[in-house]
């Protein structure tokens, strides 16, 4: 028992002195591909070590999903990432509003439409209402929120998707062809793969907290990328444990997967995702609470 305690103390000491790293885990061991103190400030392309390590599965038309095993620091030492890649030319996105008559969040995967090919909880929330701008079913439900490091996911009436900085919304909001939109934070990548200054070392926000994470972004082919982390030390049965990556590590992950713009969604116990596979069966990674907003993709 004493030896074990010494091991823990030694590990904590060594870990505190080392910069955070991310590695992919494969059959031949781990390969490091990102280090906090040498992190790129801009992701110009996907990282080959990461893209090669993703095991992709064919989903319903317009949907692919993959899995990636990562090794991060601390409690993120075993992290599995579920990635969905969605083609907006083959699926149409919409936002589903979910606040009930008792002013409680009411959306969960169960509320997704029967023909859904993909669903995920959207945005962030404090108690009841989604934070920031929401357009659902072509109707604006809430106006834009103000704050640094926010981004918005926007779908126009033709089904095209874009991710924009939150400080541009007062003009974009007046556009008349917006079918769906939501705002979230923090932004992970902006412009063409740039990591926001606040997320670089030295970090201006809490960049050491580890949690189950969920991020959404757009890659250079115009596909929507969604990444959900799961605790991976004990199989899927323990996957819901809210441990995972830090915010800068999520920015690196989205950049390494090829995203140009990306933002976090509500992770932790809210994170929930559904993909329909090629045979029409539904795969779900469930959260443990209802949320006020969902993003769904249905056939076009």
């Amino acid at each position: 028992m004493i030896r074990a305690a010494a091991l823990v103390l030694a590990a904590a000491f060594v870990a505190a002195a080392e910069p955070a790293t991310l590695s992919v885990r494969g059959v031949n061991g781990s390969t490091a591909w990102w280090q906090e103190d040498r992190a790129p400030v801009r992701w110009e392309r996907a990282h080959p070590v990461v893209t090669r390590a993703v095991a992709w599965h064919r989903g319903a038309p317009g949907v692919e999903w993959g899995e990636l095993s990562l090794e991060a620091g601390g409690e993120g030492w075993r992290t599995r990432v579920i990635i969905a890649r969605l083609d907006p030319r083959r699926v149409r996105f919409d936002v589903q509003w979910g606040v009930d008559s008792a002013a409680q969040p009411a959306w969960s995967l169960a509320k997704a439409p029967a023909n859904v090919r993909f669903a995920v909880n959207a945005g962030q929330f404090t108690a009841t209402l989604p934070w920031g701008w929401v357009v659902a079913g072509g109707q604006e439900r809430l106006g834009p929120g103000r704050g640094p490091l926010s981004s918005a996911f926007i779908v126009d009436r033709a089904g095209a998707v874009r991710v924009v900085d939150g400080d541009t919304l007062s003009a974009i909001r007046r556009e008349t062809d917006i079918a769906a939109a939501f705002q979230s934070y923090p932004s992970l990548l902006t412009g063409d793969g740039t990591v926001p200054v606040a997320l670089r070392t030295p970090c201006a926000i809490n960049c050491t907290h580890r949690d189950a994470r969920l991020a959404i972004g757009l890659d250079r082919n115009g596909s929507v990328l969604v990444a959900l982390t799961r605790f991976d030390a004990g199989g899927e049965a323990l996957g819901f444990i809210p441990l995972g990556l830090t915010v800068p590590e999520m920015a690196a992950l989205m950049g390494a997967l090829g995203a140009r713009q990306a933002m976090l969604l509500d992770g932790g116990i809210s994170a929930q995702m559904l993909v329909r596979d090629a045979r029409g069966a539904v795969r779900t990674w469930r959260g443990v609470r209802r949320v006020p907003l969902g993003l769904v993709a249905v056939p076009r």
Binding site: V8, A10, A11, E18, G73, Q139, A233, G235, A237, L238
Partner: protein, 295 residues
């Protein structure tokens, strides 16, 4: 119930996780073995695998009195959210306005380009008129300055008056009184031989009245402003609900939010990182908690 040694191994394996990358193969194997054993012996069922968290200023131990306080806080918070229709009523009002927006936008769009063209023409004319007035006023100042040089006594008097007006102007600016500012500025410029009082009439004669915004555009502006004010109202209720929950529970906002989050986890199945005592207390109040924390 998971035997205590297994729970300890699971905790140790989690706590020792940072060692993995640095301490090499042996430590890694030890941890993996421990984790695997714990998971297997738990039958991958964590429902009965309590592992106490590290309590601090934000994560408080959920004892029976604290869960009681949390429930009171959740009740108070819910009451604020729904009082007088609360957030749902506001959202309904907003939805009603939103439903009218396409028609309002269509009506406003039909007249907006005509209005903006007229407004641009007027602004251009006003700009030219202001240029002409500036030239006129420059001449007036030049003449007044020449007269002052010729009459030093009058110049001293003007200097004193100017100082008084400057103080009055500063006062009007500080109080944000635009009418007073205009009056003081007009009086001040008179000292320098400049008469501003006829400028507006000059511009009106040259350019006509400022084009009025069409009613359809005003109605659209009003609808947008009303939507924004409803957003502010809804968010204010949400904030008040959190504050009320915190106040009634006797917990800080952060402690209240964390207790709520942890209670949500416990009653909806994520039962790691709780002590046995916490789980027992939370289970005893589960149905009451679920009334506020639906899975």
């Amino acid at each position: 119930m998971l035997p205590r040694p297994i729970a300890f191994v699971l905790l140790l394996a989690l706590a020792a996780a940072p060692a993995n990358a640095q301490l090499g193969g042996l430590a890694k194997k030890m941890k993996e073995k421990a984790m695997q054993a714990a998971a297997e012996k738990a039958g991958l069922d964590t429902k009965n695998a309590p592992t106490p968290p590290t309590y601090d200023d934000v994560i408080l131990e959920l004892t029976a009195p604290r869960v009681e306080a949390l429930l009171k806080g959740l009740g108070a918070s819910q009451a604020v959210l729904t009082a007088n229709g609360g957030i749902p009523a506001i959202l309904k009002d907003r939805e009603a306005i939103e439903a009218k927006m396409p028609a309002l936008e269509e009506r406003a769009n039909a007249v907006s380009s005509g209005y903006y063209n007229a407004r641009n023409r007027w602004s251009s004319c006003e700009n030219d008129a202001q240029d002409a007035l500036s030239k006129k006023h420059e001449d007036e100042v030049r003449k007044a300055t020449a007269a002052m040089i010729a009459n030093p006594a009058a110049a001293a008097e003007r200097g004193r008056n100017a100082s008084t007006y400057q103080q009055e102007l500063a006062k009007a600016v500080a109080s944000g009184d635009s009418i007073a500012m205009k009056k003081v500025a007009t009086d001040y410029y008179k000292i320098w031989g400049v008469d501003l009082s006829k400028d507006e009439a000059f511009i009106a004669a040259k350019c006509g009245a400022v084009p009025a915004k069409p009613q359809a555009m005003i109605e659209l502006d009003r609808a947008n402003a009303r939507k924004d004010s409803l957003d502010v109202k809804a968010r204010a209720i949400e904030t008040r609900a959190i504050l009320e929950g915190s106040k009634v529970s006797g917990l800080t906002e952060q402690q209240f939010a964390m207790a709520r989050e942890r209670a949500q986890m416990a009653v909806t199945g994520t039962r790691t990182r709780f002590s046995k005592g916490e789980l027992a207390v939370l289970d005893a109040r589960k149905s009451e908690l679920l009334a506020y924390l639906k899975p």
